[in-house]
């Protein structure tokens, strides 16, 4: 732990003092939720630190003394604003020079609080000093004339901001107008739980958005941060010389987060440490009784397996593979398709349904095989399959694995005896073919919400869902979902966002409110491996809650490479608001070609799509995300199309959002492959909207992420 990592969040989210940012960054992987109140503003901020030098924040601001709109529409609801911030560190601190960061607050939104700033921070013992120059909201006092006016006179004036200024990228305001100085000092007291802050506010509160000017007696703000525990900070402050403020910060590090003990998982099968390399022992069912007995006798008393539980190891031909397949499903989470043999290698092909970490499942499978099969098998291979597509072979050298479990070799040594390979067909003997399970289904409770609209801050719905899948074969299946409303407050939902484009997303209200029983999805899907590393999928039906149609996707994802390319094309027609089998008039051909690149830089993946969007607009989506070793992902995306900006997009100028995707495995006491993705999208508009496909080939082939396997190889012995 380094002292400088204890940086705290500002009122606006993001590491900083009270109203102003500093050049400091939170620890890599930090995720913060800050609720702060400074009359008349309440900020709900979410901040993320995907890479050490980049911070992103998303915010809802509630202005408690302004109404959202006409009373007829939004009643007494107060004004809400949404914004996204980015801050990047340009220089690290050294002995003589400060850390320097450049940031933008409220980028590309309504621009109520929009600012650009350059800030430097230098630490001296327990004191951390910051000084910055801010344009826009943060530097509204305008201490100096704009130094950039040397370049052009247009930097002298900042265009008006506010809700009226829509349809223009706020980049047009960048660094314009008179900047103001801000800064301050943060003092880390000798007690870990107390941090004191004093700040010079660069804002004069005389140019507040919406003419909501505030009195200010002093430009100095004071605050104290009480670190309640490792995950919660409480900030109390006194700002503008006349208001008391408070902020609560709940934070956690998603990169270093270790999930709870998996106490609901079945324990892995114990092994009896008697496996020996195939070359040193004769084969056959009668082998090794003497040696086995001797080994068991030499084991410490605690490790002695009970006589009854020492399984009888048999030659592969004699093993009851149906029983093994059942055990593999129950203990290793593998829904077995078939079991085959290639000489001394046993191949288990199936779909991993439970374990997030491939290594953990491979370890469990090897234990199960080790307990049942004689030493004529010395490699155990698990072929990952997903929706009929086999992607990767994970092979474990059985004797080496047993040595690892017996603490005879360490993980780095073991690493050389485990490998991942592309799936290839070889000379094989099929030992077992699992019957196809025709029907699977179930029910679930669900929750969905719509935040920050004019009608109510939270529009929520609790629903029950029934889902089912009918498998025609392993490659072709029909699946669907029926959703029944249980409770919601959609009666408050009256607002339809205005639109200059075909209403491809903005009639979300009608889709949510028209019917209590809906069928969000009913589609027939088929997958096929079109060649080595080439995957294909075709689908037709009710593809998502708003669109029905047919389409296909192909993906080329070469094994062991860090890139992939793919494309999809769909003909879709808008569905009726009741989400039954009815259709509306609007139809469009939409699809994108997408390139994926794992840059190798901090595990950052870049996905760039080019194509036609739902409103018929042509454009590009750029999605940048960082995945941590534990599978948590933080990312941001934006879509710019020919309808962005002033060409019809409307409020918000272009589509953008930030998201965090957390594996349930990191939260639950049982293993799970599911993820929760939290997306913050400032506005739902018609431009740059994409079809929400139920399946995508890139996620289906995610087992090809061999880095994830390597980073978590230690899980194999758990």
């Amino acid at each position: 732990m380094h002292a400088q990592e204890y940086y705290t969040q500002s009122d606006f989210g993001g590491v900083g003092l009270l109203q102003t940012p500093t050049a400091r960054m939170a620890q890599e992987g930090e995720f913060s939720f800050v609720l702060s109140r400074t009359t008349p503003y309440t900020n709900y901020n979410v901040s993320m630190q995907p890479i050490p030098w980049l911070e992103g924040s998303f915010r809802y601001t509630n202005v408690s003394n302004r109404l959202y709109g006409a009373r007829s529409l939004s009643g007494s609801q107060t004004y809400k604003d949404k914004s996204i911030d980015v801050k990047a560190r340009l220089f690290q601190e050294t002995r003589w020079t400060p850390a320097v960061a450049f940031g933008v607050r409220d980028v590309g939104g309504t621009g109520l609080f929009s600012s650009e700033f350059l800030v430097a921070s230098k630490r001296a013992g327990r004191f951390d000093f910051s000084l910055g120059l801010g344009w826009g909201y943060i530097g509204n006092r305008g201490d100096i004339s704009n130094p950039l006016s040397i370049i052009s006179d247009r930097f002298n004036t900042r265009p008006a901001s506010g809700t009226g200024a829509t349809g223009a990228l706020s980049i047009n305001k960048f660094l314009r107008g008179r900047p103001g100085f801000f800064g301050g000092v943060e003092y880390h007291s000798p007690w870990d739980w107390l941090v004191l802050k004093a700040e010079l506010d660069g804002n004069d509160y005389k140019h507040q958005p919406q003419s909501n000017n505030q009195p200010q007696r002093s430009p100095i703000n004071l605050g104290a941060v009480f670190r309640l525990n490792g995950n919660a900070d409480l900030t109390l402050g006194y700002e503008r010389g006349n208001v008391a403020t408070a902020a609560l910060n709940l934070h956690a590090n998603l990169a270093t987060h270790v999930g709870p003990e998996k106490s609901f998982d079945p324990p892995p099968e114990p092994v009896s440490f008697t496996s020996t390399p195939v070359t040193t022992l004769p084969t056959g069912p009668s082998q090794g009784t003497g040696k086995q007995a001797a080994d068991v006798a030499s084991m410490p008393p605690g490790a002695m397996p009970e006589a009854a539980s020492v399984p009888q190891r048999k030659a592969p031909e004699q093993v009851d593979w149906a029983q093994v397949a059942k055990t593999l499903q129950a203990n290793a989470g593998i829904n077995v398709t078939n079991i085959r043999r290639r000489g001394s290698e046993l191949v288990i092909q199936g779909e991993q349904e439970r374990f997030f970490y491939t290594a953990e499942a491979a370890g469990r499978a090897t234990r199960i095989v080790d307990n049942r099969v004689d030493s004529s098998i010395d490699w155990v291979t698990v072929t990952s399959e997903r929706n009929g597509l086999s992607t990767v072979d994970t092979s474990v050298h059985r004797p080496r694995f047993i040595e690892l479990l017996n603490h005879q070799i360490d993980l780095p040594t073991f690493r050389r005896s485990v490998e991942q390979d592309p799936v290839t067909s070889r000379d094989e003997e099929v030992l077992y073919n699992a019957p196809l399970k025709r029907f699977t289904g179930g029910t679930a409770l669900g929750y969905q919400q719509n935040l920050g609209g004019p009608d109510a801050f939270v529009l929520y719905q609790v629903y029950g869902a029934g889902y089912g899948t009918f498998n025609f074969s392993r490659h072709v299946w029909l699946d669907g979902v029926i959703s029944v409303n249980i409770a919601n407050n959609y009666d408050k939902f009256k607002y339809d966002a205005p639109s200059n484009l075909p209403r491809v997303r903005t009639n979300v209200r009608q889709y949510l409110t028209s019917s209590d029983i809906t069928m969000p999805n009913l589609q027939l899907t088929g997958t096929r491996k079109l060649g080595q590393d080439l995957y294909g999928m075709a689908y037709a039906g009710m593809l998502e809650s708003m669109y029905a149609g047919a389409g296909g996707e192909v993906l080329y994802r070469p094994f062991g490479e860090h890139w992939a390319v793919g494309g999809d094309i769909n003909w879709v027609k808008a569905r009726g608001f009741d989400q039954d089998f009815s259709l509306r008039k609007y139809h469009v051909i939409t699809g994108q070609a997408t390139g994926y690149l794992d840059t190798g830089f901090h595990n950052v993946t870049l996905a760039v799509s080019v194509g036609r969007y739902l409103a018929g607009d042509w454009g590009t989506t750029v999605d940048v995300s960082r995945q941590f070793a534990n599978g948590t992902r933080m990312g941001a995306y934006f879509t710019v199309t020919d309808k962005s900006g002033s060409s019809g997009y409307g409020e918000g100028s272009f589509d953008k959002g930030i998201y965090v995707s957390i594996p349930f495995d990191a939260l639950l006491p049982n293993s799970s492959r599911n993820r929760a993705t939290l997306m913050w999208q400032p506005l739902v508009r018609d431009g740059g909207a994409r079809l929400n496909k139920r399946y995508t080939l890139y996620t289906m082939t995610n087992d090809l992420d061999t880095d994830q396997f390597d980073e978590n190889l230690g899980k194999i012995s758990q």
């Binding site: 732990m1 380094h2 002292a3 601190e93 002995r95 630490r123 001296a124 603490h407 360490d410």
Partner: protein
Amino acid sequence: MRRPAWVMVACAVAALLAASASAEDALRASASGEVRQAGSAVYSPGARLADLALAARVNPDAYMAGAAWLRPSLHEAQVRLKAGVVFELGVIRMDALTHGKEDLGVAAAAFHAWITTLPVTGRRTSVVLDPDRLEVSAADNWPIEEGDALFYPRRPSTIRIVGAVGKPCSVPHVALQDARRYLVQCPASVAADPDMIFVIQPDGSVFPQNIAAWNRDPPRVLAPGAWIYVPFNRKAIAGVTDGQFNEDAAAFISTQLVGAEGSP
């Protein structure tokens, strides 16, 4: 099926060889220091650290935090490590003298003279060697190899400070004192890096620690017998070393034994 006689003979020879091989599988390992049963003994194949540690009958007053596991197979890598450090020190000194950086040259020469005298031990660092803990912790209880040795020292009462210092020092250990505070008693030379030190705890674990006002880490308490390696100024030696010199020097010092030769 009839087999020719030579096949039978070959089988018999192979069986004999296998038998003698298993006799050779027996391991010789030894223990020394604060143990009642010092010296080497023969262990069966598959023996583990706990077998060796229990057989040695470690004295109750042995200093577990400083116990060392010496492994012949690690010698070669550590000979290389030492040779690299010694060679780079020579280069640093030559470069300093040609560029008139006398302080750096003198400090490098002094450290060179000192580190050359250190033995290559084959110590495997950061391991648990307390016999009781080994018995209950399977993951720490590694199998032993031919020639392995355990050394249990007495509890020392000093901290040693080496590297870019005027003269290597041995200063009294003070309970709960931050590593940085020991430096007052053993002034760093002008050639030292002003921003950081390496703390080497008696079990051989190495911790870089930032000590300057702008980057100071939380206090780190030293165990008796710990080392502080004061690194050479990174910028001053950047042109002539591979950038890992200080880490390598700290890693080599971490293989030294507590309370054995090589003390300043």
